[in-house]
């Protein structure tokens, strides 16, 4: 999807603010399933977004520290292990402690619909469930996340 001038939304944003949107894609907890996370990281990068991929087996602390160091605008977490009800809120808690409330937290994985409202209430902006087309996630990031500065 391009603007009238033929630029992608990410490029248009970059022109306006002087920098690319920066997203951290993270794999929290012990879950080793990274097929989805890698695809999303690649798709976001192809769409002109700056992507930092943490790799596997990150604690919530490691993720938030990396997010701070890399000065990201958003964090996407992928969780397929069933530990989402602990890991997402823990990351929110740490973001608040570090005064990074404006970093947008989103994610996906194996998350039953029933659990989503609770996660949203606790501070997760959006949860993507299995079968979501990749473009939907790219569009969400373009629409929802701006460079923080």
């Amino acid at each position: 999807m391009a603007t009238a001038k033929g630029r992608t939304p990410a490029a248009a944003k970059e022109k306006k603010s002087g920098r690319k949107v920066r997203i951290l894609v993270g794999k929290p907890g012990l879950d080793g399933h990274d097929r989805g996370a890698k695809i999303i990281a690649r798709a976001l990068r192809d769409a002109g977004i700056e992507v930092i991929y943490t790799g596997l087996h990150q604690t919530p602390e490691m993720i938030v520290n990396a997010a701070a160091q890399e000065d990201v605008d958003g964090i996407g977490l992928s969780i397929l292990s069933g530990a989402h009800n602990y890991l997402f809120p823990r990351v929110v808690e740490l973001l608040r402690e570090k005064k990074m409330r404006d970093v947008v937290l989103f994610g996906g994985g194996i998350i039953p619909d029933d659990d989503i409202p609770k996660l949203v209430k606790k501070g997760v902006d959006r949860v993507f469930t299995p079968g979501t087309p990749i473009q939907e996630i790219v569009d969400y990031v373009n629409r929802r996340i701006q460079p923080r500065k």
């Binding site: 080793g32 097929r35 790799g55 039953p112 469930t129 299995p130 079968g131």
Partner: protein
């Protein structure tokens, strides 16, 4: 296999058919697509005739079941002698919860056990480790010590049931605990049968539940090969797996090639460790995916058998024919299940199970319809088990061996898969073998690229998935889902604390020291030391921490 003259006649007829019959029909009504391809994107032709098999030699390429090259099956009577083992992967919550599920499945007619451990166990952590928070019992059973193992197999005689355990990084530790349970049941090790997955190479490639770096991990594996050859002769020491590589997004050919390449690496490692090949090779086993493209999967299994037989006999000079036999377990593809319209998954699983049976699998797990969202409920796993039973009892497919043998299409596909997979294997050999290939990220990148390509095709509508990008429902009816009690974590933490309190602390400490010391000497087999530790209620986390110190840890290179 075919008379040259007759083949020429058939070819001529084929040309005539294409020009005079097919061409006009296509002009009136063109094909549905520009290109027909498998889920792995291999192009498939409109028709296969004897021309496709002009070089096939029945004796050399197909042969008879139970004889080299085993293309048609590894056992002489296959399912007429004994059906495949119905072995449903199960595990959640506490050892008590899973023991109950084991007993339920056995009562419903399954014929072997298969254990799913929770993530802390898979990664070598106890349930009270800070790394385990929120994960306890969530996607498998919590096993921290021998105490949990005893409860897990309570009332299950280990000389009468075989158990497969999906465990890799800490496979040796968990295996030691299993043996210690058998010992407590009064069963001699030579009567114990089962499998540990113990395939660390595919962990680096796909499943990612590793602990140590490649070299020390291979040492642990060769220790297991040697130990079992002498002490646990009925045990399948490795389940060399393609399932996970496929789940991570590889094509069928990559699944076949990388799995066999892993097998080659293990055989070489065993030989390099000084174990005669015929002493350990007969107890290597395999584990493949049953994905959704029906004929591609059947061809894959048949190609795998023939490839392994040839490799073991010609490359490794194994003399025992049992060393040439590729025996395998199959699981239907989790990645093909959809969260949308979950009952459709029952159909997918049935087709996938059928392909595994027509492909000659020795053992089979069928997924439950609800597994895109949660671990299986009792109702869902019963339907999955019944799927196998209906195949076995009602469909007639087990009445004869390799019923698709001789199909022009299936034999051609089998040949092509072998050729393409061997190309990959040659490439990996040129890199110095699988360990070297993994270190440079080769199989990981191939898998990630294939996964990305496939996703692009799905999102573009080129690959259609019913309920997801075709035939969607406006409204979805929710199905009941299994929920894990959050109290499981509290109770498990308390139990493990009690185990540590009650055990002989000095003995446990001695075992841990002995383990560390032994790990520094490559001539020491770690299995007896791990057995001692297990018997003394050293926890899994403690065993793994001891070896983390001496062997190091592996971290994800994080490439995408």
């Amino acid at each position: 296999m075919y008379d040259r003259k007759k083949l020429a006649g058939i070819a001529a007829q084929g040309k005539q058919w294409a020009a005079e019959t097919l061409e006009p029909a296509l002009k009136r009504s063109p094909e549905r697509r520009k290109r027909f391809s498998t889920v792995s994107d291999e192009e498939i032709g409109i028709l296969y005739t004897p021309e496709a098999l002009s070089d096939l030699d029945y004796g050399e390429d197909l042969g008879y079941p139970g004889r080299y090259p085993f293309t048609r099956g590894v056992q002489p009577s296959m399912y007429r002698g004994r059906l495949w083992t119905m072995r449903q992967f199960a595990g959640f919550g506490s050892a008590e919860d899973t023991n109950a599920r084991f007993k339920f499945l056995l009562s419903q007619g399954q014929t072997g056990l298969s254990t799913a451990f929770h993530f802390p166990t898979l990664m070598g952590y106890d349930s009270d480790s800070p790394r385990a928070k929120g994960e306890v019992g969530m996607c498998g059973v919590a096993v921290d010590s021998l105490k949990d193992m005893e409860i897990l197999f309570d009332g299950i005689p280990l000389d009468q049931v075989t158990t497969s355990m999906t465990i890799n990084g800490p496979a040796a530790m968990v295996f030691a605990m299993y043996l210690a349970v058998a010992e407590k049941q009064g069963i001699p090790f030579h009567k114990v049968g089962g499998t540990i997955q113990n395939d660390i190479l595919k962990e680096y490639i796909a499943q990612h539940s590793w602990i140590f770096p490649p070299e020390p991990s291979m040492r642990i594996i060769t220790d297991i090969l040697a130990y079992c050859a002498d002490n646990v002769p009925k045990w399948n020491t490795i389940s060399i797996s393609g399932y996970h590589i496929r789940e991570a997004g590889s094509t069928a050919v990559q699944e076949l090639a990388f799995t066999i390449a892993d097998g080659i690496a293990y055989v070489q490692a065993g030989i390099d460790a000084g174990i005669p090949v015929d002493k350990f090779a007969p107890r290597l086993s395999y584990f493949f995916n049953a994905h959704i493209d029906f004929f591609e999967e059947i061809a894959k299994y048949r190609a795998a058998r023939r490839m392994w037989a040839r490799i073991m006999r010609e490359r490794f000079h194994a003399k025992d024919e049992n060393s040439w036999k590729l025996r395998f377990h199959t699981q239907t593809a989790g990645c093909t299940l959809t969260a949308q319209q979950p009952m459709n998954n029952v159909v997918r699983v049935a087709l996938q199970a059928l392909s595994a049976v027509l492909g000659g699998t020795q053992s089979l797990h069928t997924n439950s319809m609800d597994e895109t969202l949660a671990l299986p409920t009792e109702q869902a796993v019963t339907v999955a088990l019944r799927t196998q039973q209906i195949l076995a009892e009602e469909s007639g497919v087990a009445n004869t061996i390799d019923p698709l043998g001789g199909s022009f299409f299936v034999e051609r596909l089998t040949n092509e898969m072998e050729e393409k997979a061997m190309e990959y294997i040659r490439k990996i050999d040129d890199m110095g073998g699988m360990v070297a290939a993994i270190k440079r990220g080769y199989p990981q990148r191939e898998v990630a690229d294939a996964a990305f390509r496939y996703q692009r095709q799905v999102d573009a509508g080129e690959k259609r998935i019913v309920g997801v990008n075709a035939y969607r429902s406006a409204e979805e009816s929710p199905i009941p889902l299994l929920k894990i009690d959050p109290e499981v974590e509290k109770r498990q933490v308390a139990r493990t604390a009690e185990v540590r309190r009650k055990r002989d602390a000095k003995k446990a400490k001695r075992c841990i020291s002995a383990l560390k010391e032994g790990s520094l000497d490559p001539k020491v087999n770690l299995m007896p030391l791990l057995l001692d530790a297990a018997r003394s209620y050293v926890t899994l986390g403690e065993m793994c921490d001891a070896l983390r110190e001496t062997m190091g840890v592996y971290t994800d290179p994080a490439m995408f």
